[in-house]
């Protein structure tokens, strides 16, 4: 009897492993999805695609994404981090806020903020990014285009705009007065 209780205790933690179908969350499907199991919360909101999964098509994620399977198509994670796992084989164009590569990628990558190519990663394609870190041992073939963000210009514009609006308003009557 004591043994039976022990067996039950052991089985319980193993039960909530998420089924593969629940792992990929498309934006449209997200509201209808059932509450996330505890195991998914343990991954801290990172959607994960396992190494046995093969996808052809488009992935659009609105949360961090861990991709360790095979993928052909396009991957967009515009506001979050995309991690390409060590078993991943991607033939895809990629766009994400941050990209971390540990596996094999063939295709162009746009990492808006930063890109991290780890040791033993393999990347063939052109990179466009705000910053890049590449470890020794990584294989990379392609071009690197660093896109520097234009800092602090946009916040100033709203302050100048009210002044700019005042000037034409004041100038308009003056011009009209000259004509008269």
């Amino acid at each position: 009897m004591w043994n039976k209780r022990k067996d039950e205790d052991v089985r319980q933690p193993a039960a909530p492993t998420p089924p593969p179908a629940d792992i990929v969350r498309e934006p449209a499907a997200a509201p209808a999805a059932p509450p996330r199991p505890a195991a998914t919360e343990a991954v801290r909101g990172v959607a994960a695609i396992g190494k046995s999964v093969i996808i052809k098509g488009q992935i659009l994620a609105r949360e961090d994404l861990y991709l360790d399977g095979e993928m052909e198509g396009t991957v967009e994670v515009p506001e979050h981090r995309l991690t390409i796992g060590p078993h991943a084989k991607l033939q895809a164009s990629i766009r994400a806020r941050e990209v971390v590569v540990l596996g094999a990628v063939s295709g162009n990558v746009e990492a808006i903020e930063k890109m991290d190519i780890r040791k033993d990663a393999r990347l063939i394609g052109d990179i466009k990014t705000g910053g890049i870190v590449i470890e020794d041992g990584a294989f990379f073939k392609g071009s690197i285009d660093i896109v520097r963000p234009e800092p602090a210009k946009q916040p100033r514009q709203p302050q100048q705009q009210p002044q700019a609006q005042v000037v034409p308003a004041a100038a308009a009557p003056a011009v009209a007065g000259d004509k008269r």
């Binding site: 190519i117 870190v133 470890e135 294989f139 990379f140 073939k141 392609g142 071009s143 690197i144 285009d145």
Partner: protein
């Protein structure tokens, strides 16, 4: 004998240094290089690198080709200058295409060479404003070497510069292949990656012949018995 004498120390840039040569029978490692064979990194002043960046200094938006493979140092330095970088480890591509015991014989095969050239250095004409070729030309057999140099000339813009490195030790039957990292505009960080026999030895005349279709060739002999060559397209 010489390879025993060569013991690089970290961060020592001032003292003369013998480069790893082997004058005995070649220790053929024509296949992919092993990490175990990698040596310590050392740094030294590079007149060739200095000249290269002096020539393109002040210009922005240039496209540079780096055939030493992607490294944080080169990417950081080149992109910080406002240049766009194309990076490829041509030695690794050579190993992938011709690797094995018949490394140089395989290069003579038209089929192998065609497959290699279809995937490497396949760029539009006059695509680059400069090329960092490093020591890779030493490991190309003559027919392929000629084709690769012709292709380099084709993909470089007129007036642009190319930096290549050749070993200056005539009797060396095996020389070290290296990773070349840019410390700053005049400093190289050199990391030996293994020994292999060169396809041929290049003296000054051989180098001039190799680049005879280019406009000018300038040599810098370094303390570690390397010949840095700046070539103007």
């Amino acid at each position: 004998m010489f390879s025993d004498r060569w013991k690089p120390s970290r961060g020592d840039s001032g003292s003369p240094r013998s480069f790893p040569f082997s004058s005995s029978k070649p220790v053929v490692q024509a296949g992919p290089r092993s990490r175990e064979s990698a040596g310590s990194v050392y740094s030294r002043h590079s007149s060739g690198l200095e000249q290269f960046f002096n020539h393109i200094h002040g210009e922005t938006g240039l496209r540079l080709l780096d055939l030493s493979g992607a490294s944080q140092a080169n990417i950081g330095f080149i992109t910080n200058q406002g240049y766009r970088l194309y990076s490829e480890d041509l030695m690794q591509s050579l190993d992938a295409a011709f690797g094995g015991d018949d490394f140089y014989e395989n290069q003579s095969s038209a089929e192998h060479a065609g497959a290699f050239l279809a995937q490497s250095l396949a760029f539009p004409d006059q695509h680059f404003d400069g090329a960092l070729v490093w020591d890779v030309l030493e490991f190309l057999a003559p027919p392929l070497l000629k084709t690769v140099v012709e292709r380099l000339q084709r993909i470089l813009k007129p007036g642009s510069y190319l930096l290549a490195i050749f070993h200056a030790e005539e009797r060396a039957s095996a020389v070290s292949t290296c990773s070349y990292r840019i410390g700053d505009a005049k400093t190289l960080l050199i990391s030996p990656r293994g020994m292999r026999p060169p396809a041929q030895f290049f003296n000054n005349r051989a180098v001039e012949n190799l680049f005879k279709e280019f406009e000018t060739v300038k040599f810098f002999l370094t303390r570690d018995h390397l010949r840095e060559v700046i070539v103007k397209r």
